[in-house]
């Protein structure tokens, strides 16, 4: 496994908190598991082994002041991880494309030394397929980071869970350490 370092300091040296649309600035490093490939999107770091419809790992950094799409609630720097998790749940469950949302677990968690949360949930999409997601989230500096694994509930989730745990363990915030 090769350490895959994604550090794009480009442009954003002076505007790290601005919107990222079309110009992502990944400020983290993470191990890409063997056999997984990165999908090219403007917004997220996303990898899959068998195709995004079957499974994907995603890492997202979002500035705290960026509004959500489905809820008007905002993240605040003084929020506890549980409060952040509540906002994320509100956002997910207000999305009309997410049906039959079921929260299985919501626990405190530590990610790369940062206090955060870990949620496990299932949902159906509009076509009726059931997916399962393991979602880690934490705040650092002026951003909210989340690492999530979504897969078809049957087969793929259980099969790739251990790989995702390793993926999360390998996650590092680069710029935080450099300061």
């Amino acid at each position: 496994m090769k350490k895959y370092l994604i550090v794009l300091f480009i442009i954003l040296a002076g505007c790290a908190h601005g919107p990222q649309s079309g110009n992502p600035a990944y400020r983290f490093a993470v191990d890409i598991p063997e056999g997984w490939r990165q999908l090219h999107t403007d917004k997220y770091f996303i990898i899959t082994r068998d195709g995004a419809y079957l499974q994907y790992f995603m890492v997202q950094e979002r500035p705290l002041d960026r509004p959500f799409k489905h809820t008007r609630k905002r993240l605040g720097k003084d929020m506890l991880p549980q409060e952040v998790a509540d906002v994320i749940i509100a956002e997910i469950t207000s999305d009309k494309n997410i049906l039959n949302f079921e929260l299985i677990e919501n626990f405190p968690a530590t990610i790369n030394g940062h206090s955060g949360f870990k949620m496990l949930f299932t949902y159906k999409d509009l076509e009726g397929s059931t997916s399962k997601t393991l979602y880690y989230g934490f705040m650092a500096d002026q951003s909210f980071y989340n690492l999530r694994f979504t897969a078809a509930k049957r087969h793929y989730f259980e099969r790739d869970l251990a790989t995702f745990v390793k993926f999360v363990d390998s996650f590092e915030l680069i710029d935080m350490e450099m300061r």
Partner: protein, 390 residues
């Protein structure tokens, strides 16, 4: 995808269809292939909604709503079996599927004042079914492909509508998202108003419903789906109803409002809707709704807890004090209710009052040892112990 395209075709038709001279319902109901297809698809959409987790299930409320619908249905052709359902959705909307399944959002139900207003809404929706508006639209469909592109552009601008269109399918999209053409909406208003008055309801409430909702939308600057929000002719429809009340129904004064029974029946949906408004961050609307709920249901611990949650999460300068007061009321009403204990603990915890915080976290766990967020609370307690009194 097939559903989507079909929906898009139909949606557009709603913009400019004409009446196609349908036979009376009893003559050819479901004898034509096109109507059979529409009904079949409607039933599938109903099934999708039923399995979506979006239905607000309250047997007593449903029985009540269906009872009101039955009163109205007497004044209309009765061939189509009408059935009312409630959807957990805070936006102001209601829609009818062609085969008689009518869906009312908790958002609109929670803002009504009495049964007469509910009846006005139901009468309108039932009329869409009995006048077979979906079939009229379908038969008016000529050039399907020409419409698709422009609908896609329109829908793509409305994220919420896209979501609705997706989960509702063909008929639901037309009924809930775009609405029918002005002519068909006006027809539903006229036929519905007639059934509403025949059922003995207070005719002033029909207007009040529209006016009240329209004003609220304007005040809040809320973008809502079709029923009250985006239809460009709402003002015109209000004027039409006003004219009818002044002319055709000039003698119809007074009538039934049934305020108490209505509020009693919808109170649960009202609280649920306030939770939904809180979830989407419409704090002020949620506060108004819970205040209304607490006017109806005095001394309700869940109501006060929810009020506390809204203020705590809104996080304004003095909100925290209102939140604390609301939680304390909830505890005073029901001392075994664990959630307000946790919430008070959180407030103290965040303000560095660790001894107090610990006391409330511990009482929460004592009352609900298996609470879903036990791991968080145990973590807070450990932190309090570690930090001492702060």
């Amino acid at each position: 995808m097939k559903n989507c395209l079909f929906a898009l075709c139909i949606l557009l038709l709603a913009a400019g269809c004409t009446s196609s001279g349908l036979k009376p319902l009893s003559d050819d109901l479901l004898t034509s292939e096109d109507e059979r297809i529409i009904w079949q698809r409607s039933k599938e959409e109903q099934k999708t909604l039923a399995n979506s987790g979006l239905l607000y299930e309250d047997e007593r409320l449903e029985a009540y709503l269906n009872q009101v619908a039955k009163k109205l249905h007497k004044g209309l052709p009765e061939d189509i079996p009408i059935r009312i359902f409630v959807l957990r959705d805070p936006y102001l909307n209601a829609f009818a599927l062609p085969h008689g399944a009518i869906f009312i959002h908790t958002g609109i139900l929670a803002r009504m004042n009495n049964e007469a207003q509910l009846a006005a809404l139901l009468a309108h929706e039932i009329s869409h079914c009995t006048q077979r508006h979906a079939l009229k639209v379908f038969r008016g469909l000529k050039d399907k492909s020409a419409f698709i592109a422009s609908v896609q552009v329109t829908l793509s601008k409305l994220a919420m509508v896209q979501g609705l269109a997706g989960s509702l399918g063909v008929n639901g999209s037309m009924a809930a998202v775009t609405g029918y053409s002005c002519e068909l909406e006006t027809e539903a208003d006229i036929v519905g108003l007639d059934a509403f008055i025949k059922a003995g309801y207070d005719c002033r409430e029909a207007l009040d419903l529209f006016e009240h909702m329209r004003q609220e939308l304007v005040e809040e600057g809320i973008q809502e789906p079709y029923f009250f929000g985006t239809h460009p002719k709402v003002r015109e429809r209000i004027d039409n109803i006003k004219n009818l009340l002044k002319t055709k129904y000039a003698g119809a004064n007074g009538g039934v409002k049934n305020t108490d029974i209505f509020l009693h029946r919808i109170k649960g949906a009202m609280l649920e809707n306030a939770r939904l408004d809180l979830k989407i961050g419409r704090f002020d609307i949620a506060i108004r709704a819970v205040s209304r709920y607490l006017d109806i249901v005095k001394n309700d611990a869940r109501g006060y807890f929810l009020m506390g949650e809204i203020f705590r999460q809104r996080g304004g300068t003095s909100d925290i004090y209102t939140a604390l007061a609301s939680y304390q009321k909830a505890i005073a009403i029901d001392s075994s209710y664990s959630d307000p204990h946790k919430a008070i603990g959180l407030i103290h915890f965040k303000h560095g009052q660790k001894v107090l915080a610990r006391k409330f976290f511990e009482s929460c766990l004592l009352l609900a040892p298996d609470t879903a967020d036990k791991a968080y609370i145990q973590g807070y307690i450990e932190q309090c112990v570690k930090d001492g009194d702060g």
